[in-house]
Symmetry: C2
Subunit: 399 residues, 2 copies
């Protein structure tokens, strides 16, 4: 396909890629250029029906410069991390130097990328974004090699969005980063009952970006060092076991503990970094009261570098917990859109449950709940009408 | 005095004792009965002109039971920790068994205690309370031995309130706790320029009591274990040096880092414990902006098990920082009582300072500021008219 397109003078490929949410957190690099982490991490890839990035990459002999549009707006293409991905195709070609691919590689590139969710809201949009860019470029060039290493160069956690289901990003040992790769631990079909609720607290941009934040943590937090060296290796092995066994009790407990420990190392950073707000704390307390009422772990929260909560639950617990959230954070206005994504059944709460769990409601604190589940890795979009760029290489106008 | 009083059938003693604020934090016991800590800690004793507990202890052959009044209200005297202090006098008397002290020790005891500040607001009222109880009982019985070990049995941090100035509570090694004592590092006169501002955020009772909280931390936080074993021993030595050198930069930086690390271990506890609120975080961010504007550490915050901030500063920085706090948290109503305690001069803020530091004011978030400084240890109140109990052994009515 790439060869044929190159002969026509224009090649184009469109992919989608998922968001992932870490249950053993990544925070801190041992090499900031190569983006090599201080510890391995493990994530769940979320389904693209609810959260995805779509990216079209085009190469043409008529393009005069590399150009990039994010969510319809042209942005500077000179960012070193974007360049690291764009230029990835320029590695020595395994085929002969006179093949059509070499011609294609000499062309300038246009890229358009869109999220179906708010960017920079702590929903790991950069992970989906870079995974999608790398997937689209690989399709454009017809490359079929290990791509998670390339995605990692864009944004560390992006390498985990190169696979569906349950994904480990192994720390690796080599200084060149060639063994710091993502590996699928189990596919999305492994645990069909697992559900994910994203409690969107705020669309605000986070106060300290994760790139700057984690580097300050590496430099100043004695607790982060101990976490990376001693705590995470044990936890990673435990978490793999819990996933293998589909043990929600073990999975949920460890996910909550690891989220809390990540935020603890942010607080141990100097100056301290806070991603959790009073609303996040309300959600955490609510989850613990809910589990305590049931006598076991029915829901498990995890928070990335932002105040939004991601809550894991098994399918049969979703309706009740969603109702508990609705009662605890009564929607301000858009009550009909409070629950989005996968359908949620209705649930009646017992008076005992309400009395024990729904204490001190905070109206409007949760904007909406997105109901989703584990999903597959990046997908090729075959239908040419779905390309984000037109035949002229410019973004299509949106209807 | 005790002997003479015992012959009259009524003995009474009144003492005052100070609050202390740790700059290397105590969190976690290795022995919950003896109250032996997992790490040494270091505190500054605050001046009793602003914050103190007053306690009167009386023993009489006419009393039929032990009784206790806190802030004018009678409370149960059966609490094991109170009993540990009350019964401390029953240790084998170093003098002969027929001395008047033995007679006095057989009497029942009445105790009345009052704070000149709100209890349970995260202002270490239990430390001052137990230090004061032990001091008053020791005076009553005429004991002159090592008392910090006794105070420790009431409330761990109370042992540090048995001395003025800068006080170390050494962890100790012996299983019986006999070497887990408070020691004065430097008297309150050592650093005359040092000032303390208590930013009272809320009079609410804290959500998780420190006794229960720290034990959960010991049981569940891997980071606390590392802190106690590895981080604190280094920090304690550094902090002693900073105090010795009156090095505010070093003292302040380390105090802030250690406060943050203590709260990080609370967050690493499972279920997590939160003492810092959004308002606490605002104060932390404000302090860092203020120091960044000046290019060095002019103020240093520390937070105990509650949202109130304790801010250290040198005397020449107080007026400006207080004005910054007033502008950042404009007082809601009692504007005239916003600053209490030691006098604070007026300060004009430069437009550059305001622009760089006073961002996003939060009206009413700080109730008031208490201005104080390091002070002496427990004091005997000689004036009999100051006793909180009358000649009948009952609390005096307040005018």
């Amino acid at each position: 396909a790439a060869a044929m397109a190159a002969e026509r003078g224009l090649a184009m490929a469109t992919c989608t890629a998922p968001v992932n949410i870490a249950v053993i957190k990544y925070w801190g690099k041992r090499d900031t250029d190569l983006i090599l982490p201080i510890n391995s991490s493990l994530s769940v890839t979320l389904h693209q029906d609810q959260l995805k990035t779509t990216t079209t990459a085009a190469a043409s002999r008529d393009f005069t410069e590399d150009r990039l549009w994010l969510n319809g707006k042209e942005v500077d293409v000179g960012h070193p991390r974007v360049q690291a991905c764009l230029r990835e195709g320029e590695r020595p070609c395994p085929r002969c130097p006179c093949c059509p691919l070499s011609l294609l590689l000499s062309y300038k590139i246009h890229v358009a990328s869109e999220n179906n969710f708010p960017t920079a809201a702590g929903l790991a949009s950069s992970a989906a974004g870079y995974a999608c860019l790398v997937s689209a470029l690989a399709r454009l060039y017809g490359l079929e090699e290990e791509l998670s290493e390339v995605a990692r160069r864009g944004s560390g956690s992006a390498c985990r969005s190169m696979f569906g289901g349950f994904v480990q990003w192994q720390r690796g040992e080599r200084p060149d980063g060639s063994d710091s790769l993502a590996l699928q631990v189990a596919p999305e079909t492994h645990w069909p009952e697992l559900r994910v609720l994203v409690l969107v607290v705020s669309g605000e941009k986070k106060p300290v970006g994760s790139t700057a934040g984690m580097q300050t943590s590496v430099e100043t937090s004695p607790l982060l060092k101990h976490r990376a060296e001693v705590v995470v290796p044990e936890r990673l092995a435990q978490m793999m076991q819990h996933i293998q066994n589909r043990d929600f009790e073990g999975f949920g407990q460890l996910a909550m503990r690891d989220s809390n420990q990540f935020h603890a190392t942010c607080l141990d950073t100097f100056p301290p970094i806070f991603y959790l707000t009073d609303v996040s704390r309300h959600i955490i307390a609510l989850a613990h009261r809910y589990n305590a009422h049931h006598g076991h772990t029915k829901v498990a929260y995890t928070f990335d570098a932002g105040p939004n909560a991601v809550v894991f639950a098994l399918a049969d617990a979703v309706a009740e917990f969603v109702e508990v959230v609705r009662r605890s954070f009564p929607p301000a206005t858009n009550g009909d859109q409070f629950v989005r994504g996968l359908p949620v059944g209705s649930a009646a709460l017992s008076p005992e449950l309400v009395a024990a769990v729904v204490t001190e409601p905070v109206p409007g604190a949760v904007q909406y709940i997105l109901h989703t589940k584990p999903g597959p890795g990046p997908q090729l979009v075959d239908d040419p009408s779905q390309h984000l760029l037109g035949a002229d290489g410019l973004p299509r106008s949106h209807a």
